[in-house]
Protein backbone atom coordinates (compact mmCIF):
# COMPACT_ATOMS: atom_id res chain seq x y z
CA UNK A 1 0.00 0.00 0.00
CA UNK A 2 1.08 3.57 -0.17
CA UNK A 3 1.36 3.93 -3.92
CA UNK A 4 0.48 7.33 -5.27
CA UNK A 5 -3.12 7.48 -6.32
CA UNK A 6 -4.37 8.92 -9.58
CA UNK A 7 -6.45 12.07 -9.56
CA UNK A 8 -10.21 11.68 -9.20
CA UNK A 9 -12.73 10.83 -6.52
CA UNK A 10 -11.51 8.82 -3.53
CA UNK A 11 -11.51 5.14 -4.40
CA UNK A 12 -12.89 2.71 -1.82
CA UNK A 13 -10.23 0.56 -0.24
CA UNK A 14 -12.44 -2.50 -0.56
CA UNK A 15 -14.23 -3.09 -3.81
CA UNK A 16 -17.90 -3.62 -3.09
CA UNK A 17 -19.66 -6.59 -4.67
CA UNK A 18 -21.83 -4.37 -6.86
CA UNK A 19 -18.72 -3.06 -8.54
CA UNK A 20 -17.17 -6.49 -8.74
CA UNK A 21 -20.16 -7.91 -10.59
CA UNK A 22 -20.45 -4.89 -12.81
CA UNK A 23 -16.81 -5.32 -13.74
CA UNK A 24 -17.41 -8.97 -14.53
CA UNK A 25 -20.62 -8.43 -16.46
CA UNK A 26 -19.03 -8.19 -19.89
CA UNK A 27 -17.19 -10.86 -21.85
CA UNK A 28 -14.49 -8.51 -23.01
CA UNK A 29 -13.69 -7.39 -19.51
CA UNK A 30 -13.51 -10.99 -18.32
CA UNK A 31 -11.17 -11.79 -21.18
CA UNK A 32 -8.99 -8.84 -20.19
CA UNK A 33 -8.83 -10.09 -16.62
CA UNK A 34 -7.85 -13.60 -17.69
CA UNK A 35 -5.07 -12.13 -19.82
CA UNK A 36 -3.49 -10.16 -17.05
CA UNK A 37 -0.83 -11.60 -14.85
CA UNK A 38 1.83 -10.25 -12.57
CA UNK A 39 4.57 -11.15 -15.03
CA UNK A 40 3.55 -9.32 -18.13
CA UNK A 41 2.20 -5.98 -19.13
CA UNK A 42 0.12 -6.00 -22.26
CA UNK A 43 -0.34 -3.00 -24.48
CA UNK A 44 -3.87 -2.01 -25.36
CA UNK A 45 -3.28 -2.98 -28.97
CA UNK A 46 -1.97 -6.43 -28.02
CA UNK A 47 -5.00 -6.99 -25.82
CA UNK A 48 -7.28 -5.89 -28.65
CA UNK A 49 -5.62 -8.46 -30.92
CA UNK A 50 -6.14 -11.22 -28.40
CA UNK A 51 -9.78 -10.33 -27.77
CA UNK A 52 -10.51 -10.01 -31.48
CA UNK A 53 -8.83 -13.36 -32.24
CA UNK A 54 -10.86 -15.06 -29.53
CA UNK A 55 -14.17 -13.53 -30.60
CA UNK A 56 -13.69 -14.38 -34.25
CA UNK A 57 -12.16 -17.76 -33.47
CA UNK A 58 -9.18 -17.15 -35.73
CA UNK A 59 -5.47 -16.80 -35.32
CA UNK A 60 -4.21 -13.32 -34.55
CA UNK A 61 -2.37 -13.24 -37.84
CA UNK A 62 -5.67 -13.64 -39.69
CA UNK A 63 -7.16 -10.46 -38.28
CA UNK A 64 -7.65 -7.33 -40.31
CA UNK A 65 -6.31 -4.12 -38.83
CA UNK A 66 -9.81 -2.71 -38.90
CA UNK A 67 -11.14 -5.58 -36.82
CA UNK A 68 -8.43 -5.10 -34.22
CA UNK A 69 -8.98 -1.36 -34.22
CA UNK A 70 -12.68 -1.72 -33.44
CA UNK A 71 -11.87 -3.79 -30.37
CA UNK A 72 -9.04 -1.42 -29.47
CA UNK A 73 -11.43 1.52 -29.48
CA UNK A 74 -13.91 -0.26 -27.23
CA UNK A 75 -11.16 -1.20 -24.77
CA UNK A 76 -9.71 2.29 -24.71
CA UNK A 77 -12.98 4.18 -24.47
CA UNK A 78 -15.13 1.84 -22.44
CA UNK A 79 -13.70 -1.19 -20.69
CA UNK A 80 -10.26 -0.13 -19.52
CA UNK A 81 -11.46 3.17 -18.01
CA UNK A 82 -14.14 1.29 -16.09
CA UNK A 83 -11.63 -1.24 -14.77
CA UNK A 84 -9.16 1.53 -13.91
CA UNK A 85 -11.88 3.38 -12.01
CA UNK A 86 -12.42 0.26 -9.89
CA UNK A 87 -8.67 -0.29 -9.46
CA UNK A 88 -8.92 -3.66 -11.13
CA UNK A 89 -6.35 -2.68 -13.71
CA UNK A 90 -3.77 0.06 -13.94
CA UNK A 91 -2.70 1.75 -17.10
CA UNK A 92 0.41 3.67 -17.94
CA UNK A 93 -1.00 6.42 -20.11
CA UNK A 94 1.68 7.19 -22.65
CA UNK A 95 2.76 3.66 -23.37
CA UNK A 96 -0.78 2.31 -23.12
CA UNK A 97 0.38 -0.61 -21.07
CA UNK A 98 -2.14 -2.44 -18.91
CA UNK A 99 -1.31 -4.34 -15.76
CA UNK A 100 -3.30 -5.81 -12.86
CA UNK A 101 -4.49 -3.38 -10.21
CA UNK A 102 -4.93 -3.86 -6.46
CA UNK A 103 -8.39 -5.42 -6.85
CA UNK A 104 -7.51 -7.83 -9.66
CA UNK A 105 -6.87 -10.81 -7.42
CA UNK A 106 -10.16 -10.42 -5.57
CA UNK A 107 -12.14 -10.17 -8.77
CA UNK A 108 -10.33 -13.14 -10.32
CA UNK A 109 -10.97 -15.32 -7.29
CA UNK A 110 -14.68 -14.54 -7.50
CA UNK A 111 -14.58 -15.43 -11.20
CA UNK A 112 -13.02 -18.79 -10.43
CA UNK A 113 -16.00 -19.75 -8.34
CA UNK A 114 -18.54 -18.48 -10.84
CA UNK A 115 -17.84 -21.21 -13.37
CA UNK A 116 -19.24 -21.23 -16.87
CA UNK A 117 -17.86 -23.42 -19.67
CA UNK A 118 -17.55 -20.56 -22.13
CA UNK A 119 -15.43 -18.66 -19.65
CA UNK A 120 -13.25 -21.70 -19.03
CA UNK A 121 -12.46 -21.83 -22.73
CA UNK A 122 -11.96 -18.09 -22.78
CA UNK A 123 -9.58 -18.25 -19.85
CA UNK A 124 -7.53 -21.02 -21.46
CA UNK A 125 -7.28 -19.00 -24.65
CA UNK A 126 -6.27 -15.87 -22.79
CA UNK A 127 -3.59 -17.65 -20.80
CA UNK A 128 -2.41 -19.94 -23.59
CA UNK A 129 -0.79 -17.13 -25.49
CA UNK A 130 1.12 -16.10 -22.42
CA UNK A 131 2.62 -19.56 -22.10
CA UNK A 132 3.62 -19.48 -25.73
CA UNK A 133 5.20 -16.09 -25.11
CA UNK A 134 7.29 -17.49 -22.26
CA UNK A 135 8.50 -20.42 -24.34
CA UNK A 136 9.63 -18.07 -27.06
CA UNK A 137 7.03 -18.42 -29.81
Amino acid sequence: MGEGSTSGPPIPAFLELDHVFEALAHKRRRYLLYSLSADKEWTLWELAEKVAAWERDVDETALSEEAIERVYVSLQHSHVPMLVENEIVEIEEDAERVRPGPNADRVLSILENAGGSDDTLQEAHARGDRNAELTGR
Binding site: R28, V73, H77, P81
Partner: protein, 122 residues
Protein backbone atom coordinates in the same frame (compact mmCIF):
# COMPACT_ATOMS: atom_id res chain seq x y z
CA UNK B 1 -20.74 14.06 -46.74
CA UNK B 2 -24.36 13.94 -47.84
CA UNK B 3 -26.81 16.80 -47.53
CA UNK B 4 -29.35 16.09 -44.86
CA UNK B 5 -32.91 16.29 -46.18
CA UNK B 6 -35.43 18.27 -44.21
CA UNK B 7 -37.24 16.41 -41.49
CA UNK B 8 -40.31 14.65 -42.79
CA UNK B 9 -42.40 11.70 -41.90
CA UNK B 10 -39.68 9.15 -42.47
CA UNK B 11 -40.04 6.22 -40.14
CA UNK B 12 -37.28 5.27 -37.74
CA UNK B 13 -35.74 2.81 -40.14
CA UNK B 14 -32.00 2.43 -39.87
CA UNK B 15 -31.62 2.81 -43.59
CA UNK B 16 -33.28 6.25 -43.61
CA UNK B 17 -30.95 9.16 -44.14
CA UNK B 18 -30.48 11.37 -41.11
CA UNK B 19 -32.88 14.28 -41.34
CA UNK B 20 -31.72 16.67 -38.67
CA UNK B 21 -29.76 19.69 -39.80
CA UNK B 22 -29.02 21.05 -36.39
CA UNK B 23 -28.41 19.50 -32.99
CA UNK B 24 -31.22 19.92 -30.50
CA UNK B 25 -29.48 22.40 -28.21
CA UNK B 26 -29.92 25.84 -29.66
CA UNK B 27 -26.75 27.65 -28.63
CA UNK B 28 -25.37 28.82 -31.89
CA UNK B 29 -24.95 27.47 -35.35
CA UNK B 30 -23.61 24.03 -36.04
CA UNK B 31 -22.91 22.14 -39.21
CA UNK B 32 -22.98 18.38 -39.60
CA UNK B 33 -19.58 16.99 -40.43
CA UNK B 34 -19.95 13.24 -40.01
CA UNK B 35 -22.48 10.47 -39.56
CA UNK B 36 -22.39 6.76 -38.97
CA UNK B 37 -25.03 4.12 -38.46
CA UNK B 38 -24.75 2.11 -35.29
CA UNK B 39 -23.89 -1.59 -35.42
CA UNK B 40 -26.28 -3.09 -32.88
CA UNK B 41 -25.01 -6.65 -33.27
CA UNK B 42 -21.43 -5.80 -32.52
CA UNK B 43 -20.12 -5.84 -28.96
CA UNK B 44 -19.64 -2.24 -27.79
CA UNK B 45 -20.96 -1.15 -31.16
CA UNK B 46 -22.15 2.25 -29.99
CA UNK B 47 -18.83 3.19 -28.38
CA UNK B 48 -16.99 2.25 -31.54
CA UNK B 49 -19.51 4.02 -33.77
CA UNK B 50 -19.29 7.27 -31.83
CA UNK B 51 -15.49 7.30 -31.77
CA UNK B 52 -15.36 6.38 -35.46
CA UNK B 53 -17.79 9.15 -36.37
CA UNK B 54 -15.71 11.70 -34.48
CA UNK B 55 -12.61 10.32 -36.19
CA UNK B 56 -14.35 10.85 -39.54
CA UNK B 57 -15.00 14.47 -38.55
CA UNK B 58 -11.36 14.97 -37.58
CA UNK B 59 -10.00 13.18 -40.63
CA UNK B 60 -8.04 10.62 -38.60
CA UNK B 61 -8.30 6.92 -37.91
CA UNK B 62 -10.38 5.92 -34.86
CA UNK B 63 -7.35 4.73 -32.91
CA UNK B 64 -5.99 8.26 -32.95
CA UNK B 65 -9.01 9.60 -31.05
CA UNK B 66 -7.85 9.01 -27.50
CA UNK B 67 -8.70 11.83 -25.14
CA UNK B 68 -10.88 12.02 -23.24
CA UNK B 69 -12.07 8.42 -22.95
CA UNK B 70 -15.70 8.35 -24.01
CA UNK B 71 -16.37 6.64 -20.69
CA UNK B 72 -15.72 9.97 -18.95
CA UNK B 73 -18.32 11.76 -21.07
CA UNK B 74 -21.28 9.48 -21.66
CA UNK B 75 -22.52 6.09 -20.50
CA UNK B 76 -22.71 4.27 -23.83
CA UNK B 77 -23.67 0.97 -22.20
CA UNK B 78 -26.78 2.62 -20.73
CA UNK B 79 -27.60 4.23 -24.06
CA UNK B 80 -27.28 0.92 -25.84
CA UNK B 81 -29.61 -0.73 -23.39
CA UNK B 82 -32.15 2.06 -23.55
CA UNK B 83 -32.12 2.71 -27.28
CA UNK B 84 -31.27 -0.59 -28.91
CA UNK B 85 -31.84 -3.42 -26.49
CA UNK B 86 -35.10 -2.54 -24.89
CA UNK B 87 -37.75 -5.21 -25.20
CA UNK B 88 -40.34 -2.54 -25.68
CA UNK B 89 -41.13 -2.04 -29.32
CA UNK B 90 -39.78 1.44 -29.84
CA UNK B 91 -40.85 1.65 -33.45
CA UNK B 92 -43.02 4.68 -32.80
CA UNK B 93 -40.80 6.29 -30.21
CA UNK B 94 -37.83 8.46 -31.02
CA UNK B 95 -35.16 9.01 -28.42
CA UNK B 96 -32.20 11.27 -28.77
CA UNK B 97 -29.13 11.95 -26.67
CA UNK B 98 -26.74 14.78 -27.28
CA UNK B 99 -23.38 15.59 -25.72
CA UNK B 100 -20.15 17.41 -26.38
CA UNK B 101 -16.99 15.49 -27.15
CA UNK B 102 -13.70 16.99 -28.30
CA UNK B 103 -15.33 20.27 -29.34
CA UNK B 104 -17.98 18.47 -31.37
CA UNK B 105 -21.66 18.11 -30.67
CA UNK B 106 -22.57 14.44 -30.94
CA UNK B 107 -26.14 13.24 -31.37
CA UNK B 108 -27.12 9.61 -30.83
CA UNK B 109 -30.57 8.70 -32.16
CA UNK B 110 -32.63 5.67 -31.34
CA UNK B 111 -32.98 4.92 -35.04
CA UNK B 112 -29.31 4.06 -34.96
CA UNK B 113 -27.72 7.16 -36.47
CA UNK B 114 -24.81 8.91 -34.79
CA UNK B 115 -24.32 12.47 -36.03
CA UNK B 116 -21.39 14.78 -35.40
CA UNK B 117 -21.64 18.56 -35.60
CA UNK B 118 -19.00 21.24 -35.67
CA UNK B 119 -19.58 24.78 -34.48
CA UNK B 120 -19.70 27.33 -37.25
CA UNK B 121 -17.33 30.20 -36.50
CA UNK B 122 -18.74 33.64 -37.07
Amino acid sequence: MTDAPHDGDDGPRRTAEPAIDQPATQDGEWTQVAQRPNEPDEADGLTTTIVSAVADAEGVSPREVKRPPLYDVVDTAALERAFFQSETDTGDVRCLTEFEYRDYRVVVRSDGWVLVYERVDR
